[in-house]
C-alpha cells in the first residue's frame, strides 16, 4: 500500500476537529448498531451462530493449503481460470494481462476490498484504462477521489449535501439535489450506461466453496450481478483466506455476514458463480478468472494467535462498535482496512514499522470482540501487537521496531531501582521533591496536552507506614 507519510496522530487530530465528519459518523454508526441489535434479538441463537461461524472459519484455515488446492481443481474443472499472486503488483499485472488479451479498455467494478488493497484503480487509470466503480458508495468516493472509509459503507463519512454537490460538479448536466432518491436515480442512470458498455467486469468474493468450486457474492444493489454477468469477461479477486470447505458452511456464514454488517436477515442478492457461460447459455461471461492474492496472508497463518485475524468475513461490525473508529472515521487510519480489524490486519500485512501505530487506536473496551460474528479476539491481538512493537523476539513483521535506546535505558534503570531497596527509597524521595517541578514540556508534553500532570505524594508509602504504623482491625 502506498502510504509513505502516514502520520496517525496528525490524522486523528484532523478527524477530531472535523465537526461535520463527527456528526455524520455518530448518526450512521449509531443507526448500524441499532439495526444489528434488532436483528439478532435472541442472544442464545446468536451465540450458537457465532460458534458455528467461528468453527467454520477456523476449520477452513486449519486446512487452508488442501482447500485451496481443491478449490483450484474444482474451478479449473468448471472452466474458471485460476491465478495466484504473491503481491499486489503481481495481482495487478495479472489483471492487466487479461485486459490486454481481450483488447479491453473499459472495466466495471463491483465492490472489492482486495482490489483496494491492490490499488487497482490507480494502476489501470495510469495506464489509460477506463475504470468505473459501480457500487453506489464506491462510485461516490471514486468521484471524490477518496478511499473507502468503511468496509461495508464506503461513503458513510459523507452526508447527502456533500454527495449532491459532488454529483453536480462531477457528472455533466446534473443539477444539485439533496434528495437521496434523486441522487440514487442519477447514479442508476449514469451507471446503466457503464454496465452496457463494460468490457471486463471485476468483483470481489465473499466466500469461495472448495467442495464445488463456487464463488459467492453478497450484495443489495445488483451492480455486482451486472459486473459478473453482462461483460464477456469476469475477473474475481479474492484474498486466499476466504475459502470455505463445503456448501453447508455457506448458510450460517451468510446469516452472520448480512446480520452483522447491515442488520439484514438476508441481502437482496446472493450470487453463486460456478462456471463461465456454457454452450447454449445466452448470457454470463465467456471467461471467468479467479485471482487468489496472498499479500502477506500466508505469513499471518503461521502463528496460532495471530492466525485468528484471517477468520474475518469483512462485515464491518467491529468498526461500527469501536469507540475510536466512530470518532475518527476510516480515513484517519491511513490504510485500506480500518477500525479494529484494520488495526490488527494492516500492521501484519504492511509490517509494524510502517503501520504499528495503528494498534494504539483502541481503548481495549472489548466491544469489537463481543460483536465479531466469527469470534476473533481482537483486543487480545491488539495487545499482542502492541507488545510486538517493542519485542525483539516477536513474530509479526517489523517486531521490535519501536524499541529505542532511551526507552531501553529507562526500563533498565527502573529494574535497577526496584531491585535495590536503598535506590528505591532514594528514588521515591526524589520523585516527591522534584516531581511537582517537572515542566509540562519535553517528554511530558504529549501526556499533559490532554491530561493533568501526575501528582506526586510528598512522602512515599514506605515513609508513611514507618511514621504512622498500620491500622489493623
Amino acid at each position: 500500500m502506498e502510504n509513505k507519510d502516514f502520520d496517525f496522530q496528525d490524522n486523528i487530530s484532523k478527524a477530531l476537529a472535523n465537526a461535520q465528519l463527527r456528526r455524520n459518523l455518530k448518526f450512521a454508526m449509531g443507526s448500524m448498531i441499532q439495526k444489528r441489535k434488532a436483528l439478532f434479538s435472541d442472544p442464545e441463537e446468536l451465540e450458537k451462530l457465532r460458534n458455528m461461524g467461528s468453527a467454520i472459519r477456523r476449520r477452513a484455515l486449519s486446512r487452508l493449503p488442501e482447500l485451496l488446492e481443491q478449490l483450484e481443481k474444482k474451478c479449473t474443472e468448471n472452466g474458471i481460470q485460476v491465478h495466484w499472486a504473491e503481491t499486489a503488483e503481481e495481482a495487478n499485472a495479472i489483471v492487466l494481462s487479461v485486459m490486454q488479451k481481450h483488447n479491453a479498455k473499459r472495466m466495471i467494478k463491483g465492490k472489492s476490498m482486495v482490489s483496494e488493497e491492490m490499488h487497482l484503480n490507480r494502476f489501470l487509470l495510469d495506464r489509460g484504462f477506463h475504470v468505473m466503480e459501480t457500487d453506489l458508495g464506491e462510485y461516490i468516493i471514486q468521484l471524490a477521489g477518496e478511499k473507502p472509509s468503511h468496509i461495508i459503507a464506503p461513503a458513510i463519512h459523507k452526508n447527502r449535501d456533500e454527495v449532491g454537490r459532488l454529483f453536480h460538479e462531477k457528472i455533466p448536466d446534473t443539477p444539485y439535489t439533496e434528495v437521496v432518491e434523486e441522487l440514487n436515480a442519477i447514479a442508476r442512470k449514469t451507471l446503466r450506461e457503464e454496465f452496457y458498455k463494460g468490457e471486463v467486469g471485476l468483483s470481489g468474493v465473499n466466500m469461495a466453496v472448495a467442495e464445488t468450486g463456487t464463488l459467492c457474492l453478497v450484495e443489495n444493489e445488483g451492480n455486482g450481478r451486472m459486473c459478473t454477468t453482462v461483460p464477456p469477461v469476469h475477473i474475481a479477486v479474492m484474498g486466499l483466506e476466504k475459502v470455505v470447505e463445503k456448501l453447508a458452511d455457506v448458510p450460517p456464514l451468510l446469516r452472520l455476514l448480512t446480520g452483522s454488517a447491515t442488520g439484514q436477515l438476508i441481502s437482496t442478492y446472493f450470487n453463486m458463480i460456478t462456471s463461465p457461460r456454457k454452450k447454449e447459455e445466452k448470457d454470463g461471461p465467456k471467461e471467468v478468472h479467479l485471482l487468489l492474492l496472498d499479500n502477506g496472508r500466508s505469513a499471518i497463518l503461521a502463528d496460532p494467535q495471530l492466525r485468528q485475524t484471517l477468520q474475518c468475513i469483512r462485515c464491518g461490525a467491529c468498526l461500527n462498535h469501536c469507540p475510536v473508529y466512530t470518532r475518527i472515521g476510516g480515513h484517519a487510519y491511513g490504510f485500506v482496512y480500518t477500525g479494529p480489524i484494520g488495526a490488527v490486519l494492516t500492521p501484519q500485512m504492511e509490517g509494524l514499522k510502517k503501520a504499528g501505530d495503528l494498534v494504539t487506536a483502541s481503548s481495549l473496551c472489548n466491544a469489537c470482540e463481543e460483536v465479531c460474528p466469527v469470534k476473533i479476539p481482537l483486543p487480545e491481538i491488539i495487545r499482542r501487537l502492541r507488545n510486538e512493537n517493542y519485542d525483539e523476539k516477536g513474530l509479526a513483521s517489523g517486531h521490535g521496531c519501536g524499541k529505542t535506546l532511551a526507552e531501553t535505558l529507562v526500563w533498565k534503570g527502573w529494574e535497577l531501582v526496584n531491585r535495590h531497596p536503598g535506590l528505591n527509597a532514594l528514588g521515591t524521595k526524589m520523585a516527591g521533591i522534584f516531581g511537582p517541578l517537572l515542566p509540562e514540556t519535553g517528554p511530558l508534553k504529549a501526556w499533559t496536552s490532554v491530561r493533568s500532570k501526575p501528582q506526586f505524594a510528598r512522602k512515599s508509602l514506605h515513609e508513611r507506614v514507618k511514621e504512622e504504623g498500620v491500622d489493623h482491625e
Partner: protein, 220 residues
Amino acid sequence: MNNAARERIFARLRQAVRQGAVSVPKPESLTIPQWNQKEKVEKLKKHMEAVRAEVHVVPSANWTETLKEIVRKRNLSTLLYAPETEIGNALQSAWNTDNSGLPALCVYEGEIEGFKEKLFGMDAAVTSTLGGIAETGALILRPDEKEPRLMSLVPPVHIAVLEAGKIYSTFAEAMEKGAWAKGMPTNALLISGPSKTADIELVLAFGIHGPKELIVLVLE
C-alpha cells in the same frame, strides 16, 4: 499462470499451517424448523414484503389472470418471457385468449451480445423459480439457457412465479434436499426483494441498479 508464485505461496502455507496448528471446535449445527406449507408461505411473504417485494398468493389454476391484472395496472409495453417452459406455455395461451391492454410478449433472442440493446429496453420480465426460503424470505433461481441470468436483473420489473410446495424452511434445507453439493449450475441465485441501497446516509431506497420492483406470485 505464474507457477513460481503458486509454488512459493503453497510452500509458505504448508509450513504455516503446521506451525500455527489450532484446535477446531465442533459446534452443534442449526436445527431446521418443521413448518407446514401455510406457515412457510406466511413467513416468506412477511419477510419479502418487509424488503418491499410484492407477494401475491394465488390459486395455481388462474395465476395468469392475476399476472394480467398486475401488468395492465403498470401499463407495460414489453414483457420478456421464456417460451417452451411450463410458465411460458401458460402465458402464451393466456395471452392468446385475451391480450387487450397487455404488454407484448418478448423472447430472449440469441446471446447477450446481439440482444443487449433490446434487453436494456425491456419493461419487465417473468421467470420461474427453483423454490423459496421461508426463514429469511428469498427466492431461489437457477437461470439456464431458457431463462438466462439477466432476465431477473436488467428489466425494471421482475415477476417471479413460485410454487408454494417448493418453499423450504431454510437455505440449508434447500441445499440438502436439492443435493446442491453434487453439482452446481453456472449460476444460482437467492433474491429477496427489489434492488436496494443505503449508501447515502443509510437512507434505504429501492431500485438502484437491478429491478425497481419484484413481484412474486406464490401458486397454491
